[in-house]
Symmetry: D2
Subunit: 489 residues, 4 copies
């Protein structure tokens, strides 16, 4: 009935980041700042949002289905979240009202006091740990992997909360960037590989943590630095900051796809401008796979920076050959005798007057299932394009992600099923090329990929997973704990 996700494009043939986190301690209006920061991270999770605040004695929470600006839509709402410390979370993957209990930050009253946690990432041995905890009498209130951490903290035998927290994290494998709150202050933490991003900033006397630097920009904070892989930063209510490295030394493996698609182009990630990297991927792509064409046309909006790079490198003019509608709704009734591909046309429409008779290079950031690419190539042909050459600003996506990105099963990934020639035929392009994995590493400033010891997590391209995948390995065992998410409201 209500149209909670007007921006969500369910047909979107894209990998989707599953979460964004934001936290602030020491700010007069922490809740309003958190709402604004989450709004800047909305692209990381558009289905649900939650916030928890602490006013020195009590914790307060509010969660809802929908966008930040829908759920936190009034001064009254924010006034219900008082205090100088607040943290929040945006997410995908929650369907229907029944999922309210899965919306983060999760909160529990532990013996030591209140504890909240907001998590970006995915724990790859969550089911294994949950089974053991339930045997010991733990009762789970959500189906979120994140809740495992809370129960591990609650049942740890260590004396201090920080010790119990580290004890819990040592049992966990996978990807996590966490923002936690206790009555003592805020803890921000990144897994030893640093798979998901997390940055720290400052505004006045307040300390801010966020998934991406753009959230610092928008609230007016300055970027201090990123939280290092394996680092745990504690901030108390006096503003005293302490850094811990409880996991020893690891080679970090941050997600390279953040540079390709997930992060906003105006973010700075691992010290590099995302926009700059994307343009540079376009440059590499033009060097590797130049097409003889009249126009460079981005698939909007994610293909735009690479297309600008490709155009500048190649000298072929950059033009808007596809116009994107800003009003893409989730469901729309199709007329049965309407146009072919009306669903795509609602979102993207050919700039026919421009395209007609021209040889074009289409630039997109990635190909997942290939269905959208096929429709867009056809749209260009229907608009009269003489030739359509597709260039993709990432290597072929052949493997699923288990670190907090919503990927289809491997069998549905076009690149897992076909070679490039077959893919070109499938999408009906005159030619198709992907940037090489080394080209991608060059664009992020490396000389190339270190085979023995890759600098990034690039498992979706290479299948080289940097952690064990315990739950996946155990999945064949039937297990009462692998309940469907919507089993009980």
């Amino acid at each position: 009935m209500n149209f909670t996700n007007p921006f969500l494009d369910r047909d979107g043939d894209k990998l989707r980041e599953e979460c964004g986190v934001f936290g602030v301690i020491g700010a007069k209006d922490a809740a309003a700042m958190t709402a604004l920061g989450l709004h800047a991270l909305q692209h990381r999770g558009q289905e649900a949002v939650g916030m928890t605040s602490f006013d020195g004695s009590e914790f307060y929470s509010h969660r809802g289905i929908g966008h930040v600006a829908q759920v936190f839509n009034s001064a009254e709402r924010l006034a219900e979240l008082p205090g100088a410390m607040a943290s929040g979370h945006v997410r995908y993957s929650t369907t229907g009202g029944s999922g309210l209990r899965n919306i983060q930050p999760l909160f529990a009253d532990l013996a030591s006091g209140g504890f909240s946690i907001a998590h970006n990432g995915n724990i790859s041995n969550a089911m294994h740990l949950k089974r053991d905890l339930v045997q010991k009498g733990a009762i789970f209130q959500s189906t979120s992997d994140t809740e495992v951490i809370i129960h591990l903290v609650a049942t740890s035998r260590y004396p201090t909360l920080l010790d119990r927290f580290v004890d819990a994290l040592r049992m966990v494998e996978g990807a996590y960037s966490l923002i936690c709150m206790t009555s003592e202050g805020m803890i921000a933490c990144r897994d030893p590989l640093g798979i998901r991003p997390l940055v720290m900033g400052r505004i006045g006397d307040a300390i801010v943590f966020a998934s991406e630097s753009v959230a610092l920009d928008v609230v007016g904070a300055e970027l201090i630095r990123q939280i290092e892989p394996g680092e745990l930063v504690q901030v108390d209510h006096k503003g005293i900051i302490s850094s811990h490295r409880p996991f020893g030394n690891f080679n970090a493996r941050p997600c390279i796809f953040e540079h390709v698609y997930f992060s906003r182009p105006d973010s700075v990630l691992d010290g590099q401008s995302v926009y700059g990297v994307r343009k540079q991927i376009g440059v590499e792509l033009a060097k590797e796979s130049l097409a003889d064409a009249d126009l460079v046309i981005p698939v909007p909006d994610s293909g735009v920076p690479a297309a600008i790079g490709y155009a500048q490198q190649s000298g072929i003019p950059f033009e808007l050959g596809i116009i994107r509608s800003h009003y893409v709704g989730r469901t729309f009734i199709q007329p049965s005798d309407g146009a072919r591909h009306a669903d795509v046309k609602r979102k993207h429409n050919a700039n026919r007057a421009l395209v007609e008779g021209k040889r074009i290079v289409l630039i997109d950031d990635s190909i997942v299932r290939g269905t959208t690419s096929m429709k867009i190539v056809q749209m260009m042909r229907d608009a009269g394009a003489a030739e359509v050459h597709m260039r993709v600003a990432s290597p072929p996506t052949e493997h699923s992600c288990f670190y907090g990105v919503d990927t289809p099963e491997r069998s549905k990934l076009l690149a897992a099923r076909m070679d490039i020639q077959a893919m070109a035929e499938f999408i009906h392009a005159d030619s198709l090329a992907f940037v090489s994995i080394d080209g991608l590493y060059r664009a992020v400033g490396e000389a190339g990929r270190n085979k023995g010891c890759a600098q990034y997590c690039d498992a979706c391209f290479t299948g080289d997973y940097p952690t064990r995948l315990t739950d996946l390995a155990e999945r064949d065992t039937p297990d009462l704990l692998t309940l469907p998410i919507n089993r009980v409201a």
Copy 2:
């Protein structure tokens, strides 16, 4: 409570088209096609939408506050609008639930049967006509100027409905592109000056009318031609089309601002690609007012085509120096100690890594109040831009529109209050230039503006209004009929 207009940017310092219309006759699923067509015209009116259909014996209507995809969000809803003929309307200017009665198409049971009307434009003697009708006993159900036409038809003494309709239109002055329905068929009509656009297309055996050609594209119809200024086209249920010219010969004066901003870039208007015209304005602007700079940066999204033209003409690279968020909500609570201009940053954020230390040319389509321009220039400076030169793809907007565009009072138009030098200082730009009126006419393919007999309505730039403005002239007389719109729910 509900967040009906997530896309609406109330701070948007833009002129706004007030309406879009769509109609189809002879299609199996007329209502679904109309919903899709209105969706493609959503940029012309984002606050409310209505649709009326006819199934051969009865008329059916549904109206609602919100976007097309919100109001017509289910197959059940569309099933309540049966029949092979349907028409619809999107609009701005309706605030709150109380305005349901003003949502078009308006409908009345006349003695001759049902009559519906959807109107894009504004009748400049509506108050004058309404006062006279009320004296004779007419009871108005809306505060819309459009209702005047229905009452004129209802009380006309001519025998046939077509004669009564023409009789009514002859009393009306101003801008109107109309799509009407009777039990006999559909009537599309454009005022003698053709101020607002209206096109005709075909899909299979069905005839389609729409404000812009993009709506034909999206439903899969082919463009036949535009309805000519002063033309009235009738289509009956057998598909027989007849054209009438009831108003004699006029020099047409279509709105030139449709080319500058209102229409979608993928529409074709007066035989010209809107995208092409906008790029050409950028070219003219670069010829007239070249800036010595490192980067050409569009104010997204409306400044992009002119910026591409400016970049191509000048050789200065086109870059995305401002990133636009897709998640702009209507209301948002500001943290009091947040950044300066957080409201603008929610929508637009500087690509700091790109801009820092650079001399930039900002390209926008127009300047209305100047408040947004001022904030964006400041955002570029805060991001480290060395120089900021503003170039505007239209002449200074000095006059209000009375033909269906929502303009602020003249006293709030920056160009009505200042000369260009003062404006540059107000927005804090290093330099400011507008395209000349002749440059604009060149971009639409003319040699220049014909002074004695302008080819377009350009009153917002020149003050040269092509019709009388009766209500405006009579406004000093106190009048019980000039009731506030929301007086009675």
Copy 3:
């Protein structure tokens, strides 16, 4: 989705009053008082409610589907209805959201100024008048018969508004108790036969009008007197009251069913206590049709007063043998293998411990279709009653009402289809008796019914309609104006 009418019992086999009206002039908080007064009249119309107020210069309105306490549920809502004069209306008969435009008070901007009207009753020549008005160019915005009066006022040739109003009413036939507002003040008026009730009261300097005296009680006003049949009372903003008799002399025929069922027992009607009359009907019924039984059991709640009278006259003890639930919802999903008649049991449940083995007299106010009576008799038998005698506190309901009461078609009235013996068998009662028409007249204080010149409208019992029924007579003629109510939203 929302459960707007939790109290409404759609299965209720009852005739239903269709409207209640309330108005006040000269009160500081007229809107709050009107809400409270309408709340006391809620039993006269539970589906929709509207209110219009006047603050000395503007009129304000709000309407909604649901109960008074749902629609006027906040101080903010009432603050939107400022001024010292207000009137309101509760009604049945509006289905779905589409009926908003039919919710009264209706309002129009006439040449002489604003005019609002709230109507209890039914105009029996409305279609005839509407056809004529539409021929002359009138455009109707509702499908309510009441709107005819507004158009007649708008098009009357008389000079003053009062003359135009009387001119309009002279063309109208049927039942109407009206509360109107103009910028000059309030007009209350009752049709020449006085079919529907209307009373006048005073609180401080304010004058109050209402359908029933209970509304005066609840707002704290004292009853002055009823508006006489054919009387028109005007009150201006200074509190000056003038009474007019524009229709000459008639024999009044107020509705006798108001005493039987419609009015609240705590109202005083035609100078008589409704509760007292109902008890007296029970006394007459016991005199006419004594049953040899152990217990007198009312069908709650409407049968209670007559049952008390019957018990007092007969000496048989009054007992609650049927318990009524207060939580009767509109829709409820039946278990397929649940009890027989679970739908009735949700509302009424047998007090089995009391009834078992007893001979009982059931007292109900009326029998309409007989379906509920049949179920209740069966419920008593299932609970172990030895004998079930039904006594009814009104004569057999054989005819439809055309004066503002929702009656089924005549063919569905049990008494129109069967004699009393057959009715007894249909409802499976051991005996069945109705009070006689003269017994009913005795209960309201008459010696009996005057055959030539009945003192009340009792057409539902006798078929003796006191007015012409023009629309009914013309109904065979197909007519484009008899549109279904929900044709256009």
Copy 4:
């Protein structure tokens, strides 16, 4: 905003039962039957409702704020609760949307499988137990005392679920009638004192449990017997019933106030008709405290049975001197210059024509704060009553309840603050009398109250609490666990 509780009378100066439970196993449409059964128990809890079902492999739940007929308002909703076993719960005490997590049945995935619990009563050592559980690492998801039982089951060391459940209950003190579900079947259980009621019935092959027998009537089931105090009944999916007595022998102490007010008059409780007991209280009251008066008038609706008994015993006629509105909303805006006590008048209005000049005996079931009694006495005087004698069908309510009834603090109970003479003056009655405690015991069929060993829990009248009140005793100790219910949403 929404008006979820139109029936709820917050001003109601009554003690309130806090919960009702219903369960069925072995029925084809268990969810629909449960909804119907809960609807019949709606008077036991009007603020929230929940249901859980089991289809042989999975558990399903739905909960909501509002009435049964609002929350389970569609076939689709019930279809989401498949299976032949279902149980549900209605409750008071949940304020705002934040309380969703406290709505029962509570559900947990234990190591042994799913476990649901619905509870009527109150655990008087819940805080004490909770503190201990949290120390051991338990994480509570609700603030309900009932959740303690689940954690005790989850952490018990006994091997079978039944043993773990009994182990848990042995640690619990207070009042509980429970309906639990596991994958093996249904368990119904009543605390050793049998404070709250619970009955068992049969319909076809299905077994039904409910708080009151009226719920069996309404779903068409026959009453088998009550669950005995201290009894635990297990029913498996084959319909095999086993009874256990795990707590040894106790003297039962069922709540006597169920007879006075909580239960529906058409229920049978402890083998006695509730209606019959209430009438007999009226008889005892007339014997003990006859008043010299003209009319016996019940305070509707709860005073009606005792008033009938009083009238029959005394020979004074029973009359409806107070008319109750069925449309009592939660919030209502008062006109400032309206009548005195308009809030009471919305609910109760004097039948002035009856009362005027008469000496009346008012019969009410109980006096709590006395505020409503005061207003009703005044209402009778304002309506012209010559004398007002109040008779109360229970002894003075001097003590709070800690067993599942919502009572004000002791200091707000009128009878805890004043003697009877002072109470008579406070409510402004000409005389006031309460039934004696022995009279009350006689009405339930005893010879009188056994002083040493009372047959019922009558602590609200006598202060003789049948269990320890551990949490109350420990309340002085500050405790982080006594969190306000709405602390975290």
